[in-house]
Symmetry: C2
Subunit: 385 residues, 2 copies
């Protein structure tokens, strides 16, 4: 019965449709009244899809096939000017917009870029994400974002998969932590992955600012002021930025024949800077500190204040990032400004490059943080307490 059924059903609409326009349209619309003879009492106003109009509705209204509509939609050739115009008008009248889901299925591309943001929404990442989002929009892409506070490998993997299945065309990872990048690199996503990563990550596209150069500038600023004992408060172990800044600091000290002491470690938050500050102050010889970021700096400054250590009189402090509050620290913080918005735009630019030609990695030049001198650094003076 199947066959009979199928063929009969298949034929009827066909026959019917020969005269008018589309095929399937009739299938779903005409249906019952299929038999051409059936006087078409199909009361319910035939189609009557109360929902959004489909391509077939447009086709019918314009008296063309759905294919022609498709061609018009995608600005493909092979449609006469007149027809194109007519279809366009109908599209406007019906307020028709193609279903992204259907498009995604058929095209295997979604016009979406996935953004994975893992970690605390600090000043840097948030602004980079914003810059990226704006750039993506300008490039005609939509951003599907997955944010997570932690950088759990499982969650990250899940996120990548979700995005891949959404048919995103590329995945961007903004996560300071190395794990966040490593994990995603291990996944054969089938789509290019672009990560913000200041260390080289073979087999993956990356974008970053020149953390190393920034650290060099910071350290040289201190050395230039006459400091010889320069400590460092680094970020978490698995932060690539932290590693690069530390490397820049250490290399610079060495280049100047200065001693490289073990850095103190923080987690980027003010509280850890405070803790590091307390430890640091036990070291009476240091006259300057290069702190991994501004947030930790404020904590460290608090520790100094508490211990009665004058900054910059007894200790010079330099931060990194130049968050908007840095100028109002006590004292105003000398730091390195990073252009996060620019970084975000660089990310999207790289995505476009990669999408254009996966192989040709155009290797964008890195932005270099800019030294902003304020009141927390000065030539070494009296020794700490």
């Amino acid at each position: 019965m199947n066959e009979t059924d199928a063929s009969s059903r298949a034929d009827a609409p066909r026959g019917a449709s020969v005269a008018p326009g589309g095929p399937a349209a009739e299938a779903s619309a005409v249906l019952g009244g299929a038999e051409p003879s059936a006087a078409e009492p199909v009361g319910p106003e035939a189609s009557g899809p109360p929902g959004v109009p489909t391509m077939f509705d447009v086709a019918r209204a314009a008296g063309v096939s759905h294919m022609t509509v498709s061609r018009v939609l995608n600005d493909r050739g092979g449609v006469s000017g007149a027809t194109r115009e007519r279809v366009r008008r109908v599209i406007a009248d019906l307020n028709y917009t193609p279903s992204p889901a259907a498009r995604a299925m058929a095209n295997r591309r979604s016009g979406q870029i996935g953004l994975i943001q893992a970690g605390r929404p600090d000043y840097g990442p948030s602004n980079a994400a914003l810059g990226f989002n704006e750039a993506a929009r300008e490039a005609g892409y939509t951003v599907s974002q997955v944010s997570m506070r932690g950088v759990d490998a499982g969650a990250l993997t899940q996120a990548v998969h979700r995005l891949v299945l959404q048919r995103v065309e590329a995945i961007v990872v903004i996560s300071g932590e190395r794990d966040g990048v490593e994990v995603t690199r291990g996944i054969d996503a089938g789509v290019p992955i672009v990560a913000v990563a200041s260390e080289d990550e073979p087999g993956m596209h990356r974008v970053s600012m020149d953390q190393y150069a920034g650290a060099v500038r910071a350290t040289e600023h201190l050395i230039g002021l006459g400091h010889r004992e320069i400590r460092h408060v680094t970020g978490p172990d698995d932060s690539m930025d932290a590693a690069e800044r530390r490397r820049g600091w250490a290399d610079t000290l060495r280049a100047h024949g200065l001693e490289v002491r073990e850095p103190l470690t923080g987690d980027w938050l003010a509280a850890s800077g405070y803790a590091a500050g307390r430890d640091l102050l036990a070291d009476v010889s240091a006259t300057a500190v290069f702190v991994g970021n501004d947030q930790m700096s404020i904590g460290l400054l608090a520790a100094c204040r508490e211990a009665g250590v004058d900054v910059p009189g007894a200790l010079s402090v330099i931060g990194f990032d130049d968050i908007p509050e840095a100028a109002f620290f006590a004292p105003p913080l000398t730091t390195l400004r990073q252009d996060f918005d620019g970084l975000g735009r660089d990310i999207m630019a790289t995505v476009l490059d990669v999408l254009r030609d996966e192989a040709a990695a155009p290797d964008r030049t890195e932005r270099v943080p800019e030294l902003v001198v304020r009141a927390s650094t000065a030539p070494p003076g009296r020794l700490p307490t």
Copy 2:
């Protein structure tokens, strides 16, 4: 000839697919070996799609029909525990996740929620967005985000339209500024819009924290310490949060029979707090200030320091938000902690409510900011300088 052709072509495929098992699966997978008689040497390991696995791959591997897989996926009854387990395992093994695009088509729902984030990515909005994002994911939704630094009406309108075209099921607006909310309210998006808004916005769903109550607590804290001249630094004019906090402050002063002086105005940034501080210090009578947020507080504290005004000795300062750095200000800031992550989750909860029944607005109870007393407030002592 159309007819002949059409019918013959139409029949062939139909007839062919009738025989084997699954429909589409076989079509793309088995293909040649379709004929049941074909001894199934289907060499190429059947499916072989190098891409992501489909439901049919799972079904085959688990030895069940794709329907069962579907039931398991959607937690629908009619599947024995054992089978369910087996299918689950296979799903995990294959790292299978259903294609959102296909689901969207079949379900007529995209599973996407649009998020519009307008304005600077400050601590509050960023964390609320993060909380929302996580909650959305947990609820099985995907987030399509549109971020923009400004709150330009045109851009906002554009954003809403973009999201509607994407067929998002709801739109969330996180934008402190009233304009951001007003604009989106005027749009007949066809999908529910939920906005973070602390003022009542007729004709739109809103979520917020109780800014008013927070401000009352802040003011009462100061009054409780014995202050009688309490000034206020408010946020930008078009911030609803700012308006509510100001209202809470003013009402509380009045309730205690205290004078309500014109507040100073800032833009939430530290620099504006600094400027407000300088103005404020001209007023020698004030013994306390309720500052609209923590960022402005740090600026104001800097102004005090510069002017040699002791905090809290000569002036008590209380902020709002409790950003992680607040405890390390000079002095550590008394402030009102807001649970932004919770707010984000409330947003998603509201979205779900609304999606469930647009009419029944369950009016979630607002979270109330919590007073965190630190060192920037104290009983009034010696007068300012």
